[in-house]
Structure formats: structure tokens, C-alpha cells
């Protein structure tokens, strides 16, 4: 008799704990100090929390175990994703500080919500149980719904938050349905199966080994539904419709954060599920994911062509980029996994930089975010224009920027796995994509500044400039010397495995 209390080990979720504690602390400190002041302590505290979180994530590097009653996988893959997420969050915090301050937005809860979101995303990377995936997904989604609508006075902000929330709830039902199917198939929601000797609980991985080949029906259907639920978060076509609206309405730092971090978190869960757990069923899920990848690449690239708002344009571009990441997943070999991780990490830095420039140049209340507003930018602020040029070229995948390397590795992995035609589609899509990136460049360099336009960079802090500089530096430096990050990503393809 008696309850089986799971053994509580904290190392696995220590990075998340640090963030949650930090977020709570921020809320309490803010409540104590109250209104007024310039609230510099908030972003300092966030920075510290994220720093501690990175430190703890690094500690877990090299571990290989399941913790918290087999709900959490502590492995190299999770560590890589967590570190990258925390770096994204750091850049976002520094950028947001300037942004919120300029626009006079009450910043108190902002940092708390951001840290909660990161904690949820980190859990996605570690989740070894589908229930945990769902919890993590809802944790960061709830925080993001609020963050998207954080410009309370902006109607578009409110609208986009509402849309994101409704469709998010909608997509969660399919994720839950998928989890239910898994439970129906194997009697548990675990991915790996029990590590405790003799406990005998089934997991998807163990079930795939022990069940006879004909009994996978429910699992296959469940896989489709799980892909739907997670595909929504990474903005895969046809579950992408919310993306342009939400990206446009959200404050630019949040948009950048979503493009970088949400995608990484969603893909982290997808990669673990498809390339590690459901690897034996790849014959069944590959056609599905290939269809989604082709649609995502093509629709994202083609629809971006006619966009006039830079934030919307980058939203479509982020859809296309999700498609490129899918090619790495489809390859489902080591190079594909490490390539996808590399792609997500470097795309995140680049897109954060791009949205940082937009945040700076959009001006108060983001009134100037159309492509036309960037006319002749080069002649007014050459450095910002130069940085944006770099980011756009990297997004387009031009050599000597990191975007080129990212495409090279994921496409290389797909070719290795025998999907050359998919790479051809991807390359054609990126050729279309190059058009709209270049369109922005043409406007920036070859057209005159509008008469009487207000100066581009009114009232912006050095912190944001630092973020842009860092992102630009990373874009070029990693574009020329990428091997350290590739090596890191290659060692991160190490998933938890019972054997070793």
C-alpha cells in the first residue's frame, strides 16, 4: 500500500526553476517598490535570472538521464536548446528595456511574463512525457498571449493577441487529442518508458519495440495530430494563419522573441518526437512532414512578395524559414538534427537583430514599419541600415553570412538522406524569398528619404544598439567561422537513451 512518490531531482529543471524564481522575485520586488522610477532593477534582475539559468543549463551538459518520474529528459539536446533560448531571452530583455521605456509602457509584468515564457519553452526541450509537452506549451503560450497584446493602447495589438489566443486554444485541442490517441495506443503518455527497473510502464519508444508491427495504427494517427498541434507553434502551413497578424500586432521585441524562441521551443519538441522517439515510424510521418515542409517553404516565400509592412514581411519569411528547418527534420539523421539546431539558433539571432532594428526605427508606438518608411534609410543612419542589410542578407542565405551556412547544413543533410528534390524546392523558394529581402535593400539604398520624415532614431537607448551590434557581429562572425557552433550543435544531437 502507499503512494509511489516520484523521486525529486532538481538538476534537470534547475534552469527553469531559476527563471520562475526570478520571475516571481521580479513581481514581488516591483510590488514593493511600486509606481514611478525608471525601474532599471527589473531588467538587471532578469539578466541575472537568465545568467543563472544559462549557468545551470551548462551544468547539465553531458548528463543522460530521465528525472521527475520520467517526465523530464536531461540530455545534450535539451541543454543546447535551453542555453540558446536563454541567449535569445537575454537579447530580448535588453532590447525591450529601451523599447518599453521609450513608448512609456508599464514594464513591471513584462519581464516576469517573459521569464515564465522562457521557462515553459525550456521545459518543451526537456519534456519526456506528452503531458509535460502540453503543460510546457500552455505555460509559454499563456505568457505569450499577454505579451503579444502588451501594447494595451493599440487596437491592432489587442486584436492580434485575441486571434493568437483563440487559434492557440483551437490548436491545443488537436495536440490533446493526439496525446489521447497515444494513451489509447500504449496506455501511457510517456515518450521513453520507465527507466526504473521492473516498473514496466510503457512509453512510445518501448512500445515501438515490443508491439507487433500491425498495432501502430493509433500511434500513426496520433503522430499526425501531434504534428498539427506543434506545427501551429512553429507556424507551419496550413496552421500559420495567425502568424502575420500576431507578428504585426505584437511589440517588435516580442515579435523577435517569438520568431526566435517560440520556433526553437516548438521545433525542439518536434525534433525529439519525430527524430528520436518516432524514428522507427519515419516511413509513416515523413510523407506528411514533407508535404507540410513544401507548403510552408513555398507559401511563406510567395506570400511575402506582396507584403508592404516590414513586420508582416518578416512574419511570412519566418514561415518560410520554418519550412527550411523541416528539411533537416525530414533528413532525420545526425546532420539533420544538428543542422536544424544550428539553423534555429542562427536564424533566431538574425531575426532578433532584424526586429531590433525595426523596434528602433519604428518610432514611438511603431508608426513606421512599412517598407516605404525605410526609404533612403542608408543616408540617414548608415549603421542601422548596414545592420539591417546584414540581417536581411543572412535571412536570404547569402554567403559570408550565417544564414548561408544554416541553409547549407540543413540542405546538405536532406541531400544525404536522399531528398535532393526537396532541396531543389527549398532553393527555389529561397530564390523567391531573395526577391523581397532585396526589395527592402533597394528601398533603403536607392530611394530618397521622404520629405519631412521624422528622424529615424528618436529616443533610443544604447542597450538596443548593443543588441543590434551583437546580433550583427554574430551574423558575420558565424558566417565566416562557423565550426565552433556546428561542433556544439553536433554534440547536442545526443538524446537520452536508456542504453547509454
Amino acid at each position: 500500500m502507499g503512494l509511489n512518490t516520484p523521486e525529486i531531482e532538481l538538476l534537470g529543471i534547475a534552469p527553469e526553476i531559476a527563471l520562475v524564481v526570478g520571475a516571481l522575485f521580479i513581481l514581488i520586488v516591483d510590488a514593493i517598490i511600486g509606481e514611478g522610477g525608471n525601474k532599471w532593477h527589473l531588467w538587471i534582475l532578469s539578466t541575472i535570472a537568465l545568467g543563472v539559468s544559462i549557468f545551470l543549463a551548462v551544468q547539465a551538459w553531458g548528463s543522460n538521464e530521465l528525472q521527475m518520474g520520467d517526465m523530464i529528459a536531461v540530455d545534450g539536446f535539451a541543454a543546447f536548446v535551453k542555453i540558446t533560448l536563454a541567449v535569445f531571452a537575454l537579447l530580448t530583455v535588453w532590447l525591450s528595456r529601451s523599447y518599453l521605456h521609450r513608448d512609456g509602457i508599464e514594464e513591471s509584468e513584462f519581464y516576469g511574463l517573459l521569464l515564465f515564457a522562457v521557462a515553459g519553452m525550456m521545459l518543451m526541450a526537456s519534456a519526456a512525457d506528452l503531458i509535460m509537452v502540453f503543460l510546457a506549451l500552455e505555460t509559454f503560450s499563456l505568457a505569450l498571449y499577454v505579451l503579444v497584446g502588451f501594447r494595451r493602447t493599440s487596437l491592432t495589438g489587442q486584436e492580434s493577441a485575441m486571434k493568437y489566443f483563440l487559434l492557440g486554444a483551437f490548436s491545443s485541442t488537436f495536440l490533446l487529442l493526439g496525446i489521447a490517441f497515444v494513451y489509447g495506443a500504449i496506455g501511457s503518455t510517456q515518450m521513453y518508458g520507465s527507466s526504473a527497473a521492473g516498473a514496466g510502464a510503457q512509453g512510445i519508444a518501448t512500445a515501438l519495440v515490443s508491439l507487433p508491427a500491425g498495432e501502430f495504427t493509433l500511434l500513426v494517427i496520433a503522430t499526425g495530430l501531434l504534428v498539427v498541434g506543434l506545427g501551429f507553434k512553429v507556424a507551419a502551413v496550413p496552421f500559420h494563419m495567425w502568424t502575420p497578424d500576431a507578428y504585426q500586432g505584437a511589440p517588435s521585441p516580442v515579435t523577435g522573441f517569438m520568431a526566435a524562441a517560440t520556433k526553437l521551443a516548438g521545433f525542439a519538441a518536434l525534433i525529439r518526437l519525430l527524430d528520436a522517439i518516432l524514428f522507427p515510424l519515419r516511413g509513416d510521418w515523413r510523407p506528411l512532414v514533407i508535404g507540410i515542409a513544401v507548403l510552408t517553404m513555398v507559401v511563406g516565400s510567395v506570400l511575402a512578395v506582396v507584403q508592404e509592412d516590414l513586420k508582416r514581411l518578416l512574419a511570412y519569411s519566418s514561415i518560410a524559414h520554418a519550412g527550411f528547418v523541416f528539411t533537416g527534420i525530414i533528413a532525420s539523421n545526425d546532420r539533420g538534427v544538428s543542422g536544424s539546431l544550428f539553423y534555429l539558433a542562427t536564424y533566431g539571432i538574425t531575426v532578433l537583430g532584424a526586429f531590433a532594428v525595426i523596434a528602433v526605427l519604428g518610432g514611438r508606438d511603431e508608426r513606421r514599419t512599412t517598407v516605404d518608411d525605410f526609404r533612403g534609410l542608408f543616408y540617414e543612419s548608415p549603421l542601422l541600415a548596414g545592420a539591417l542589410t546584414l540581417f536581411l542578407l543572412s535571412l536570404a542565405g547569402v554567403p559570408a553570412t550565417v544564414g548561408f551556412v544554416g541553409k547549407l547544413v540543413v540542405f546538405g543533410a536532406a541531400v544525404e538522406a536522399g531528398y535532393s528534390w526537396l532541396v531543389v524546392v527549398g532553393v527555389l523558394a529561397s530564390a523567391v524569398a531573395a526577391f523581397f529581402y532585396l526589395k527592402v535593400l533597394v528601398v533603403m539604398y536607392m530611394q530618397e528619404r521622404q520629405e519631412g520624415a521624422e528622424p529615424a532614431t528618436s529616443g533610443y537607448g544604447g542597450l538596443a544598439t548593443g543588441v543590434i551590434g551583437l546580433a550583427a557581429l554574430a551574423t558575420v562572425a558565424l558566417g565566416l567561422y562557423w565550426s565552433p557552433l556546428i561542433d556544439f550543435a553536433e554534440r547536442a544531437t545526443f538524446f537520452f537513451s536508456a542504453g547509454g
Binding site: M162, K163, L166, L167, F170, S171, F174, F216, T217, V220, I221, T223, G224, L225, V227, V228, F232, V237, P238, F239, M241, W242, P244, D245, D284, P287, L288, G291, V299, V302, L303, A304, V305, V306, Q307, V432, F435, Y481, S483
Partner: protein, 625 residues
Amino acid sequence: MAAAVIALPLAGAAFLLFFGKRMSKASAYIASGAIALSFLSGLILFFRMLGEPGEERSFVMKVYDWVNVGGIHGNGELLLDPLSIVMVLVVTGVGTLIHVYSIGYMEGDPRYSRFFAYLNLFCAAMLILVLADNLLLLFVGWEGVGLCSYLLIGFWFEREVAAGAAKKAFIVNRIGDFSFLLGIFLIADEIGSLSVTEINAGAATMGTTLATVGALLLFGGATGKSAQIPLYVWLPDAMEGPTPVSALIHAATMVTAGVYVVVRFSPLFVAGGTTALTVVAWIGALTALWAALMAAFEYDIKRVLAYSTISQLGYMFIASGVAGYSIGIFHLVTHAFFKALLFLGAGAVMHALAGETDMRKMGGLRRAMPVVGLTFAAGWLAISGIFPFAGFWSKDAILAVAWEQGEYALWALGLLTAALTAFYMSRMYFRVFEGDLEVPEGIHVHDAPRTMAVALVSLGALSVVGGFFNLPGVLTLEHFLAPVLGEPEVPHGVIAWALAGAALVVAFAGIFVARALYLQPEGDARRERLEKTAPWFVGAARSKFYVDEFYGRAIVAPGKAFAGFCADIFDKRVLDGLVNGVAWVVNGVSSKGRHVQTGYVRNYAVIFLLGVVVIASFMFLRVGV
């Protein structure tokens, strides 16, 4: 350390390109300092290498993991061995002297710092070329020196001839580069590696035919860079650049890149049997004679030197072609000394005569500018092959090794060229420096300023004693290079003496004829009589044998016509039509597609649901429920 050799001038160039404008005068000292330090690093490496036993003098240093694609490794690896260190010392040593010379020569130029930035950049690229342990990296240096050559020939781009000459040099070199690239591809494909050491080790496995093709493709690149038949036409025009550039790039260093490549990949050339080497030797010999002929009829002092450079490079290829690699390098070294000297001397003359280059308007300058006259004389005797000046030793060694290999025809061509060389160099020396003082009107002749004199005297001294680096019997340089290049077979005893005597005799004969035609008072009448015996030949030689015209009609004109067709008809109608058509279609699809994005959540949800239905049905069908 080896990386520092390259990094120093590279950093100098980068620094000057960004900040040079603000420091004008100081930029010269920064650039010279950078290259001098590079030379010093080279010296330290050299002495460290001397401390090792002969077989252990090759090191490969990995600086940087560069390209790694499909099993081909293009790493930033440097190869430091006796051959590359000799090249490093020549490039940085002569380079330093020419930097110093330029301090005075370029004074007052509006783009003063830019000039030094380019010079430094050139040195860095050349050093990459000679130190690379990897064909890909070598090609970076190869293209880098080509670029710098273009920038420096066209340094005074306001003058149309200079801009045109720069373009000509670049385009002609591209033809060679194309061949070179094909060679790289072939080698990469056959041997599966781009590393110099691995290519040389694996050359024998390529099979005779492929090795020959690969070697000849590389040699095609060499004919471009080293100005050999048929791609030599750019070098005389390149004299439009500032004279220090002609001295550094178009005499002492860059043009030797082709020789270096042939020597560096000598196992590849040998692997193809005799064909490739025979081609190399004969192209060299014919070029040597051909260029010497044109030099004998040229009046522009810099162009005479340019033809002479082409001719002397031919000698180096003869040496490589008869497997006397280290002798080729020996001549490369001595030639770097005396040709740089001659160019700098010519530059000093131009400097004093307000840019005049026509030797018919000069005379008796030795007394007006003694330092220049004296050092120029040293260079003249060296290139003419007079004992004991530097050129005597290296040229004699080349002829001797050709004889020893039984290539008597090559030997005879070389000997004939030697006579012609002595003739045209004496003609130039007598016209410019001897006789009565004769200068264009209104010019006060002055001797070389101090910085220029320093360079002239140093190079003059090297032209006198440069041959002692490799005296017969002692053979310091040959033994030093032997671990990489092997020892060439040379004649001994009476034959060696006889060959040296023959070379000396023809050299004196050349000088004697020149003296009779140009120095003695009866010279003018004699020349007239001579020219009447074969007027068509003189005319042809003065027009450079119509080679430029031939290339213009046979290659450039059809090429232009084809390009015109491609640009005006094929590109505008067909390709642009296709591209614009595709863009039009994409734009149309995009405009239509955006209507799906209505902004209503219900519509979004419907599409979402449709997607789910499709996916679910697909999955159901798949599992057959």
C-alpha cells in the same frame, strides 16, 4: 610565426585602407614597417629552419579550418619548407626595399596612403600564394595578387591608357586563371585532396595522361601570370603603373608566381612523363627569344625592361622544363635583385626627367646622376651575364643543365637569347647613361633622393654578389632546396668550363655590337645600313610583330560580337523575359494568395481545420483503417 609573415602586411593594408587618409606621410612608414617586420619574421623562420636537419625542414601549420565540403578539405594550412622560405625572403626582402624606395618616389601623390595600402595588400597576397599548403588557399593568393596588380597598374586611372592597361592585364590573366581553375578541379577530382603535399605524393597515381593534362592546365595559368607565350601581351602595357609597382609586381615577385607553381608541383609535371615538361621548356625558350627580339627594337625604357622580364621568365621555365628546379629558383632570386634594381633605376631616371621614358631623348646621364648610373650599370652587367655578377651564375647554370639533359636546341636558343639580352641591355645603357648629356628641355636633372638611393644601392650590391648564394662547387642554395626539389644534374669538368666560356663570349659579343652601333660615333650610319637590309623585319619588330592586332581581330572582335549578342538579344529578350515572366507569375499568385488572409479568425480556423482533415485522412489511409 609563419602566419605573422602574412598577417603583418595584411593588417597594414587593412589599417591604411580605413585610416590612411588621415595620416598621409606616416602611412608610408607604417606600410614599410609592416613589410620590414614581415621580412624579419621570415629571417627568424629561416634561421630556425637552418637549425633543423635537412629532411625535417618542412612544416605544415594549420591556422584555420576553412572549407570542408564533400570530402574536400580547403583548410587554412601553411606549408613552410626551404622552397617557400626562399620565396618569402625574396618577396619580403625586395618588397621592403621597394616600399622604402616608394616613400620618395610617390611623394606628393594625392592617393599616397592608398598606394601603400595596395602595396601591403599585394605582399600579403603573394605571401599567401607562396606559403599555402593548399591549392584553394594558393588560389586565393593567386587571385589576390592579380587583383592588386590590376589596382596598381591602374593606379593613375585618370589616364585612359593606364585604365586600359589594367583591364587588359586583368582580362588576359583571367584566361590563364580559367585554365588554372580547371587544373584545380581536375586534381581535386582525381587525387581527392587539395593539399600541396598530398597532391605531390599522389601525382603518380593519376595516370600519365591525366597528370599531363592537369600539369598543363596549371601551366596555362602560369603562362598568364608569368607572361609567357601566348599570354604575355599584358605585361608591356602594365608599365603604365607607377614604377615601384613595375619593379615589385611585374618584375621581382608576382610574375614569378607561375614559375613557383611549376616548381612547387614538379612531381605532378614529372608524373606525366616528358610531355608536360617539354612543353614548359619550349614555351620558355621561345618566349625568351621572342621577347628579347622585341626588346631590341623598343625605345621606351620601361617597356624594354618589361620585355626583358618576359624573356628572363622564359629562362626560368627552361630550367624547370629540364628538371633544374632549384636552378630556376636560383635565377628567380638573382633576377628579382637585378630586375628590381633596373626598374628602380629607370624610375629614378623618369623621376629626374619629369616622367620621360623615351630613351632617344636621353643620354649621358651617368655624370648627372652618379648613384643611379653606377647601380644601373651593375644591373646591366648582371642581366647581361658578365662574370662575376649575379646573372652570370644563374644563367650559366640554366644553360649548363639544359646541355646536360641533351637538350641542345634549348641550349642554343638560350645562348642566342643571352647574346640578344646583352645587346639590348647595352643599347639601353649606352643610350641613357653614356655619351653626351642629353635631356628634355627645361629640366634640371637631380640624382635619386635618399630613400630611393638606399634601395638602389642595396639592390645594386645584391646584383653584384647575388650569384655567390649558389657558386658552382659550393651550391649553397641548391643544397638548401634539395630536400624539396632534389639535386639537378649538371655538367662537370671541361664541359662546364666550355659552357661558361661560351655564355661569356656571347655576352661580350652582344655588348660589343651594341657599342659599335650606339656608342661609337659611326653608330648611326651603321644602324641605317643594317635596317635597310631587312626593313620588313624591323617594321614588324617595332610593331611587336602585330600580335596585339592579331589577338584583337581573331579573339577580341569575335568575342565582343558574341557578347553583344548575349547582352542585347539573348539576355534582354530571352533571359529577362523568362525572369520577368516568373516574377510576374509569382507576384500574381502572391496577390491572389493574400486574399485568403482575410483577417477573420473564423476563416483562419476553417483553413486550419481543412489542414487537419487532410492530414487525418492521409494518416487513416496510410494505416488502412
